[in-house]
């Protein structure tokens, strides 16, 4: 199993070969509350590192989803658009958002490990 990395914007990213699967963290869903809407990037679109890649909305507010690395969108997850509540139920597995063919693996270097992210999440919310 490949390593999962985390961003300060509360996305997780799992790299397999040059394909990265990206979603939002459990911690993010707890901050957002009930997610009722998700918008994904277009398949084939090219995203820059830290650029906007989509939107999630809870009953309370809308939040942008960013991509922690740049690349071309090769696949998106239609099930989270049809049934956004699965993002709350299983954000770091079933409810992935999109897959990118990444162009520069070194962009992964600045991202956090699981331990680093857990610490970051704890510090930024208390």
């Amino acid at each position: 199993m490949s390593e999962v990395k985390y961003s300060k914007e509360h996305e997780w990213i799992r790299l397999e070969g040059d394909i990265a699967t990206i979603g939002i963290t459990q911690h993010a869903t707890e901050l957002l509350g009930d997610i009722v809407f998700a918008e994904l990037p277009e398949k084939g679109s090219k995203l820059e590192k830290d650029g906007t890649a989509g939107v999630v909305e809870s009953t309370k507010a809308a939040s942008d989803v960013y991509t922690p690395v740049g690349g071309e969108v090769v696949e998106t997850n239609p099930s989270i658009v049809d049934n956004p509540s699965i993002i709350n139920q299983d954000p770091e597995n079933i409810a992935w958002f999109f897959k990118l063919r990444i162009k520069d693996k070194s962009e992964m270097d600045s991202l956090m490990s699981k331990d680093e992210y857990d610490k970051f999440a704890k510090e930024t919310t208390t």
């Binding site: 509350g33 009930d34 009722v36 809407f37 918008e39 009953t59 309370k60 658009v81």
Partner: protein, 368 residues
């Protein structure tokens, strides 16, 4: 200014509330269940809402007070029976809405429930208008809770016997733990329910008993989705000084008898608008897809002309889709008119619809 806490603050904490500041108060936006679950529990069972931040204004007086209040509110107050309630508004001379409220005739005068953000200003305005002739108390010693949803009548009646016999929009004094509580059959969720005015010292005890009987605490988040599905206005969003009751599509709340006399504050404008129509009007708006159009979203017609704005918009858990209301130019206010909502730079199709989005009949009470 330091934010205030209601008498239920500790109880909210005990139930893991997430707090927000609202109108100067620390209020629970949700508890551990989350907004959607709390919303559905209220629709299917029974939810308890702490609305103690709202103003409870007691004005004491007799026939002269009735006459003076009729100069302010567009209501037939002399025919309002004891313990009956009416929805109304405090208007300025241009009929702009300064607050919306519920006024109830009680033995010694009137009880008016005011919005939290408006209550101090309302008190000032009313004191001036009534020329300090009457004793007025904006009671900070009483809390206000609402219990809403189909099981509420039975749950509350188990704790305070007799409340299930109240009719919709009427109230009475009851006893809880030898304390006088004033209970009306009313609410703001589109469900059958009650609002209970009770001493700050006893509100936790009552709330805990209601929880023990199966009701659950519900936060302001679900209160907002419930009231929007029910087509009810939120002051500050859907109503403000720039809007009149006619524009807000609330003319049903204005007494016909009082319009014919036209002797209340703002009546000139109200009568003119009733006769000549209005340029903008509040409507329900149903987005076609899943995109949520929130307040301040611009509304366009099919020729891409800007025709209005959303004033409240969210996801409706019982509708299972986005719901909104807003103001559009009158000619585009007909039901089923196609409009477009600009969200994050893209235009999304929607249609004008009638309110409410979610309908359930209010229980009239077992007397009828």
């Amino acid at each position: 200014m330091e934010t205030k806490k209601t008498s239920l603050y500790q109880l909210h904490q005990d139930y893991n509330a997430k707090f927000v500041e609202f109108a100067g108060y620390q209020m629970p936006i949700q508890y551990s269940g989350g907004i959607v679950e709390e919303h559905k529990f209220t629709r299917n069972h029974s939810g308890i809402f702490d609305v103690s931040h709202m103003g409870q204004l007691f004005i004491y007086g007799g026939d002269e007070l009735i006459k003076d209040l009729e100069k302010i509110f567009p209501l037939d107050l002399k025919n309002l029976r004891l313990n009956h309630s009416k929805y109304s508004f405090l208007m300025d001379k241009d009929a702009g809405i300064q607050d919306d409220l519920i006024i109830t005739k009680i033995n010694e005068g009137f009880l008016i429930i005011l919005n939290a953000a408006c209550k101090d200003n309302d008190f000032k305005i009313l004191k001036e208008l009534l020329k300090e002739k009457y004793k007025m108390v904006l009671d900070e010693n009483r809390s206000l809770i609402a219990i809403q949803g189909p099981k509420s009548s039975q749950i509350l009646n188990d704790v305070i016997d007799g409340v299930k016999d109240l009719n919709f929009m009427s109230g009475n004094w009851f006893l809880f733990d030898n304390q006088k509580v004033y209970i009306t059959r009313s609410g703001y969720t589109g469900e059958d329910g009650f609002e209970i005015s009770i001493s700050n010292n006893f509100v936790s005890k009552l709330t805990r008993e209601l929880i023990d009987k199966g009701s659950k605490l519900v936060g302001l988040g679900a209160r907002d989705t419930l009231r929007l599905e029910a087509g009810l206005c939120l002051y500050g969003n859907d109503l403000d000084k720039e809007k009149t009751p006619v524009e807000a599509n609330l003319k049903w709340a204005i007494s016909k008898e009082r319009i014919s006399k036209g002797d209340f504050i703002g009546s000139d404008i109200i009568i003119k608008q009733l006769n000549n129509g209005v340029t903008k009007i509040r409507v329900g708006i149903k987005p076609e897809g899943r995109v949520i159009a929130r307040e301040k979203t611009k509304i366009f017609n099919q020729s891409d002309a800007h025709i209005g704005e959303i004033t409240s918009g969210t996801f409706g858990p019982s509708v299972n889709g986005p719901v909104a209301m807003g103001y559009v130019e009158n000619e585009f206010s007909k039901k089923n008119t196609k409009v477009f909502l600009e969200v994050r730079g893209k235009k999304h199709a929607a249609s004008i619809c009638s309110l409410p989005f979610y309908k359930k009949s209010y229980v009239k009470g077992s007397n009828e």
